[in-house]
């Protein structure tokens, strides 16, 4: 009776500790706050927030330079943006060599103790942002136009080297499937839920059609037609062979890339057969855009990418079923709890018939109905005994908190974006990239591995603490010591929420013929809520290709007047 009281008492304390920890988990990361400040135009405060939270020499130094790079970019201080992005690129290069000692420390403490090394899709985005900065400098300083365009092309050559290596490793969109077992497993888990949506058929980041396309535009700006042709061709093929489907872009980007390919082939001359093939494939529509003369490409970076948030699970041992059971601890606002449930069901829960049968076989009929809310790992007699001998079952007496990440759901808020020149609507922008989907797919791909590592880490921590209690002769305080260990582990468990937060949610683009000289353009972004955001600028059109980019924040418009005039290149 006393034992039962103690157990209940300890569990009450553990619950209190968990609540305290989980309440602390709900804080908004500094880089999310910074980009929210930036969208209100408060750049100095945003930069201060980044500089204060991410020191220049700490394990988060990459985040510091990525976020500052974006903030300076938004502020149109392109040289400073490039300096920061250059440092970020160097840090990513350094991280090629994995520190074994740091990984060992992370296994015992948590992923946040490692140096943040970014994601595989960050490097191409750094190159693209730097190139856009150099392009903007070329537009700002006509006397040094060639110098800055050359610098932009340096970035595109680096990008090409990186993407060539990436496609060698992954097979690209025209190669064989990468055969990544983890991806296949994630796909199988997702299949029952998302089978109608073919989006997750393949979620590897294997090439970047958008980056190739921007590269083609910049080469064409410098009249380097051969290089432009190669990049347009790579972009067109990647869009067509899977990139457009993977990031839900529709078919326009593919057609535009083939049209641009045809145009530079015609300009360069000597591609009669290839042009005929393109005409056969795309018909007369490809000819319309092949007319010679200056062209304007408008790139719209819209919104803010989704935030990574922490999701907590409780790992405990089920003595009667001889199984380890993982139960989600839904926490936060109603929307957050729903998102956590959705994420858990999508990835971890026993939703397949096979898993439900396993629940049934372990004798826990109650959990068959609750299958969607638990992940059960039946150990069987032999493994259960081994786990007991190793002290694992004892270490999990009060349960262990496992922290993993989930991505907040995102919704499409833009109805359409229109390009107006000299007061006339000339085109609608189409989707060319979805950084939101890219981030989501990256998170999904890593989710099972993350859970596995988190599970291992917490078990190792619990077992190490349990053995330490035994070796230091504190058995007299066994119950209290175990509780203390559980509480300490619960507090130190933490998911790695670090990410380049200031990236846009999606990238839209259009390309139109224009006349040489000065033009006044307006970009009208119509939101589903009915509000309209207007951004205007005056441009000097060059003889080949002029590239103009802007960032449109969606949230700031909601609190502003229905029509807002912003001029942010």
């Amino acid at each position: 009776m006393l034992s039962l009281f103690n157990t209940l008492h300890y569990r009450a304390w553990l619950t209190v500790a968990l609540i305290v920890v989980l309440t602390g988990c709900n804080t908004t990361p500094a880089n999310k706050n910074a980009i929210l400040l930036a969208q209100q135009g408060q750049f100095e405060q945003a930069k201060t927030a980044i500089e204060t939270s991410y020191p220049a020499s700490g394990k988060n130094k990459l985040l510091r330079h990525l976020e500052l790079g974006t903030l300076y970019h938004l502020e149109q201080r392109y040289q400073l943006s490039n300096e920061n992005l250059d440092k970020a690129k160097a840090i990513i290069e350094e991280q090629y060599t994995i520190s074994v000692s740091e990984q060992a420390l992370a296994l015992l403490s948590g992923p946040t103790y490692t140096t943040f090394s970014g994601k595989e899709f960050h490097r191409p985005l750094i190159n693209v942002f730097k190139a856009l900065n150099y392009n903007a400098l070329a537009n700002q300083y006509p006397a040094q136009r060639q110098y800055y365009l050359d610098a932009a092309l340096v970035e595109m050559r680096q990008l090409d080297t990186y993407l060539s290596t990436l496609t060698d490793e992954t097979g690209g969109y025209d190669g064989k499937p990468s055969g990544d077992g983890l991806t296949d497993r994630v796909m199988r888990i997702l299949q029952p839920l998302l089978a109608p949506n073919d989006l997750l058929k393949n979620i590897d980041y294997k090439d970047d059609a958008f980056a190739h396309y921007i590269s083609g535009i910049l080469y064409e700006s410098s009249n380097e037609l051969d290089a432009a042709r190669i990049q347009y061709q790579r972009a067109a093929e990647a869009f067509e062979q899977g990139f457009a489907d993977q990031y839900d872009l529709g078919t326009h980007a593919t057609k535009q890339a083939y049209t641009d390919l045809a145009r530079v082939m015609q300009k360069a001359g000597g591609y009669r057969n290839e042009l005929n093939e393109l005409e056969e494939k795309w018909g007369d529509s490809i000819n319309e855009a092949r007319q010679a003369g200056p062209r304007l490409t408008v790139v719209q970076n819209a919104g803010i990418g989704p935030q990574r948030k922490e999701f907590n699970l409780l790992l405990r041992a089920d003595h009667s079923a001889k199984a380890l059971v993982v139960t989600p601890i839904l926490w936060g606002t109603s929307a957050e709890r729903k998102a956590q449930m959705w994420w858990f069901q999508m990835l971890y829960a026993d939703t397949s018939l096979f898993d439900m049968m396993q629940n049934y076989a372990t004798g826990d009929l109650g959990d068959v109905a609750m299958g969607a809310l638990t992940k059960r790992l039946p150990l069987g007699d032999t493994l259960w005994q081994s786990a007991k001998t190793a002290g694992l079952i004892d270490a999990l007496e009060h349960g262990s908190r496992i922290a993993v990440t989930y991505l907040e759901p995102f919704e499409q808020k833009i109805d359409k974006s229109e390009l107006w020149i000299e007061g006339k609507k000339v085109a609608e922008l189409d989707n060319y990239h979805s950084v939101s989907l890219l981030t989501l797919q990256s998170a999904l791909k890593n989710a099972n591995r993350e859970m596995q590592i988190a599970l291992t880490r917490e078990v190792v921590k619990a077992m190490t603490a349990h053995k330490a209690i035994q070796s230091t002769g504190l058995q007299a305080f066994d119950g209290f010591a175990k509780l203390a260990t559980s509480v300490v582990n619960a507090v130190t468990a933490g998911a790695d929420l670090r990410q380049w937060q200031s990236l846009p949610a999606q990238i839209k683009l259009t390309q139109v013929p224009v006349t040489l000289g000065t033009v006044n353009i307006t970009l009208k972004t119509k939101l589903r809520s009915g509000k309209v955001i207007e951004q205007s600028d005056t441009l000097e059109i060059n003889k080949n290709m002029t590239l103009w980019h802007t960032r449109t924040f969606i949230e700031s418009a909601q609190s502003a007047a229905p029509t807002t005039l912003l001029t942010m290149e």
């Binding site: 090629y96 520190s99 050359d150 092309l153 340096v154 290596t165």
Partner: protein
Amino acid sequence: MNCKTTLLKLTPLVVACSLAITGCSSTKVQRVDANQEVALSDKWNGKDSQLVAEAMINDMLSFPWVNDHLQKEGTRPAIIIQSVRNKSHQHIAVDTFLNDLKRSILRSGQADFVANKDVRQEIRDERKDQELNASLETQNEMGQEQGADYALSGTINSFVDEQGGDRVTFYQVDLRLIDMTTNREVWNGQKKIQKLQERSRFGF
């Protein structure tokens, strides 16, 4: 007793950690000769710029155009640098490379340099200012500039091949010298540099 044993067991770990932390936090700065190569990566560096400039100018001055010009005109040829475009995959300080080129030519004593467009304009502005503000004896006349006989231009290209942690970078600098009267290419030089960078996937 148990506590003491535990502490004894932990001592080497604590010492090792302390040493590791001390080692990590040290920063060392030393002065090194500007001519000494310090290659931290396979990027184009100051030594590459200097070596390529010297080699190319030696090659350029070994061609017959210098003597031909001396025999024909009786003066040293005057060269203007038009542009050297960076078409490589690295951001290269082209101005530094151009300065290395100029120094190599001037050091040879076989040719003169004419200032480029921007510098010429600055000097012209200065002469205009002299006309208004300097004494007659110290004023420099307008219209007495030396015109260039030859124009130097070129490109820096690079190719990269990467596999795992190994990367081979190949830089190629191409320069050409054009006779400004006849458009005849009197010299064409090429210098190649290849660098291998090896990185291990795991480290302590």
